[in-house]
């Protein structure tokens, strides 16, 4: 392949796509570097949910005594899953925006003119999002524990919450990557952010649906994020139950399957020779 004097390089046999696993690991490393080296993109995702939790806990703490409120230790305990999920949803946007930026500034062409296995482009980003999800989950659970909000289900419930956080990171990451791949515009990805925010606030994240009224209650009860929220909350506020674990992980898996399929579809579209 190379002329005289060229350094022998071990390239794989022609006709085979470059191995998916090393390429995914390499792309995942890059995604992580991008996260670690741009703290401005995810630190707010750690701080703001905590602020919102603090404000809500201060203003709504008495509501736990209302009839119909779930049996919780404290309002803070009630808020733990909401804060965790909110943080993960915020952080997951970053990877999608980075994919769009790659398309915008031509780094994507560099990838496209190499034989890299195409799925690695998406899988690497999702891998980065998963790691961030683990860190966020441990961070939020840690901070809430410090302030006295316990996870009643114990270490197993904590582990399940981390798994749920990772699945949700993949879900939102898949959604954002799909938008990024579709539009090739970082702005477009960021413009979807308020939608996530609205979905979150019209859910049972900060208040039980049983105590809501009118259309708000109607929407909140049908908002998939409420289902996720309730399932995660049961892990926090009640003793460990197999049903609760299956429900929480199942719902999160459902989200992930839907959005990752969407992203995979958009990737296939994007890598077709234009």
């Amino acid at each position: 392949m190379s002329g005289p004097g060229a350094v022998a390089v071990t390239t794989p046999a022609p006709g085979r796509a470059t191995a998916l696993v090393p390429a995914t690991v390499a792309m995942g490393r890059r995604a992580l570097l991008s996260i670690v080296r741009q703290p401005a993109t995810w630190v707010p995702g750690l701080v703001f949910p905590l602020l919102i939790a603090a404000v809500n806990a201060a203003s709504l703490s008495r509501t736990v005594d209302l009839p119909g409120f779930p049996p919780v230790d404290s309002f803070l305990q009630f808020l733990l899953p909401a804060t965790l999920i909110q943080g993960v949803l915020f952080g997951g946007i970053v990877g999608g925006a980075d994919i769009a930026l790659d398309i915008q500034d031509g780094f994507f062409d560099r990838l496209m003119s190499s034989p890299v296995a195409r799925p690695a482009i998406l899988l690497g980003r999702l891998g980065g999002a998963m790691v961030l999800g683990v860190v966020q989950a441990l961070f939020f659970i840690g901070v809430f524990t410090l302030f006295g909000a316990r996870v009643e289900g114990g270490p197993v419930a904590v582990a399940v919450l981390v798994v749920v956080a990772v699945l949700l990171a993949v879900s939102i990451g898949g959604f954002a990557a799909g938008i990024g791949l579709r539009t090739g515009s970082q702005e477009a990805v960021q413009n979807f952010f308020p939608l996530v925010f609205v979905l979150l606030f019209i859910s049972s994240a900060f208040f039980p649906t049983a105590l809501m009224t009118g259309w708000f209650q109607w929407v909140a009860e049908r908002n998939p994020l409420s289902w996720m929220m309730n399932a995660a909350r049961d892990l926090v506020i009640s003793d460990l139950a197999f049903d609760d674990v299956v429900r929480a992980v199942g719902i999160a898996c459902g989200f992930a399957v839907v959005t990752v399929s969407f992203a995979a579809m958009q990737l296939r579209r994007r890598v077709r020779m234009p």
């Binding site: 071990t10 490393r29 890059r30 990838l111 496209m112 003119s113 190499s114 034989p115 970082q186 020779m273």
Partner: protein, 344 residues
């Protein structure tokens, strides 16, 4: 043995705009082939088709013996690409990028590390290897880009305007690099440029492209020889100008487009040796010689001969409607580089 790069009737249109309009190419093993043309001529579009980034709308091309559409993955294995406007991730270091690129080409970890160090050394970036690319100068980025394109020791290398925006020193350093690469490894290089000097200096053969078509092709020497005689440009006092113009073009060769209305330009059929005779004739006419210059034929003359326009300086003169460059939206995003909108 098939040619490293071969194309016939290669075409690409974007809607009504025909960016590349039937290009035939034959690049031979181990040569540096220059693709010379003004802004918007279709250089990048051609390169993007040859590097499997863009689907031709007509004709065909084979690179390293593989069809660029049906065997795109085989082509990608054989080529190194440094695109005109592909950014380098500013958050990563030179070393990290080289290792990533190596992995993308299926090179193992240890080999990738060794190869990365060797290439950094080669392009003189060893000291900067662990610094983030965001802090590199333009010249350093181009050199890193070149190193990245070489990670898998490609048989065919595509360089799209590798020195645009570089200062003369960096430009010459990059030329040196391309030359030695070609000489030592026998790498076939297709290089696009807007600079006549660059094509002249580097390329063994040149194709001049204008408005999507190749208007002239050959070695720099043969292309210049086609234009033929050197051009004598001179100025005489206004009173004798018309007379001198008529006599000189009648006796020494054909009149050529002059740089200013006051100047007289004549293609000297007798070559540089005829200059003494010109001076004597002007003396006989009583004309006062104010200035005189002899221009050896240049690629610009070749371009002018083929298209009726001048190449250099044509950038500002919006030859083809202002559909390029300056109309792009302002730079955005953290990388500070920009390119055409990425929407499909």
């Amino acid at each position: 043995m098939s040619l490293p790069i071969q194309a016939a009737g290669l075409r690409r249109s974007f809607g009504d705009l025909v960016a590349v309009d039937g290009v035939d190419l034959e690049v031979r093993e181990g040569e540096i082939f220059g693709f010379l043309g003004p802004n918007g001529a279709g250089k990048s579009t051609t390169v993007r088709m040859l590097t499997t980034l863009l689907r031709p709308t007509g004709g065909w091309a084979r690179v390293a013996g593989h069809d660029v559409v049906t065997d795109a993955d085989l082509v990608r294995r054989s080529i190194g690409v440094a695109l005109q406007d592909a950014a380098i991730d500013p958050l990563m270091t030179g070393n990290e990028l080289l290792r990533l690129q190596a992995t993308l080409h299926g090179i193992g970890r240890i080999e990738a590390k060794r190869r990365g160090a060797e290439l950094l050394e080669r392009v003189g970036l060893t000291a900067a290897g662990d610094r983030r690319v965001g802090g590199y100068s333009g010249g350093m980025r181009r050199r890193l880009d070149l190193a990245l394109s070489l990670v898998h020791a490609p048989a065919v290398l595509f360089l799209d305007e590798p020195t645009t925006g570089l200062d003369p020193m960096s430009r010459i350093a990059l030329w040196e690099e391309v030359r030695s690469l070609n000489a030592e490894n026998g790498t076939t290089v297709l290089l696009t440029t807007q600079y006549l000097e660059e094509a002249d200096q580097l390329a063994g053969r040149i194709a001049i492209i204008d408005r999507g078509r190749i208007v002239s092709e050959g070695t720099p020497q043969t292309l210049k020889a086609q234009v033929g005689a050197p051009t004598l440009v001179l100025r005489v006092d206004a009173g004798h100008r018309d007379e001198a113009r008529a006599v000189l073009s009648g006796r020494f060769g054909t009149e050529r487009p002059a740089p200013t209305p006051e100047a007289i330009a004549v293609g000297l059929d007798g070559g540089a040796g005829a200059v003494a005779d010109v001076v004597r004739v002007l003396d006989e006419l009583g004309a006062e010689l104010e200035a005189m210059e002899l221009h050896e034929p240049s690629l610009d003359d070749v371009f002018a001969e083929a298209t009726g326009r001048r190449l250099e300086g044509a950038e500002e003169a919006t030859t083809d409607g202002d559909d390029e460059g300056g109309t792009e939206p302002a730079a955005e995003g953290r990388r500070g580089r920009r390119r055409r909108g990425g929407t499909s």
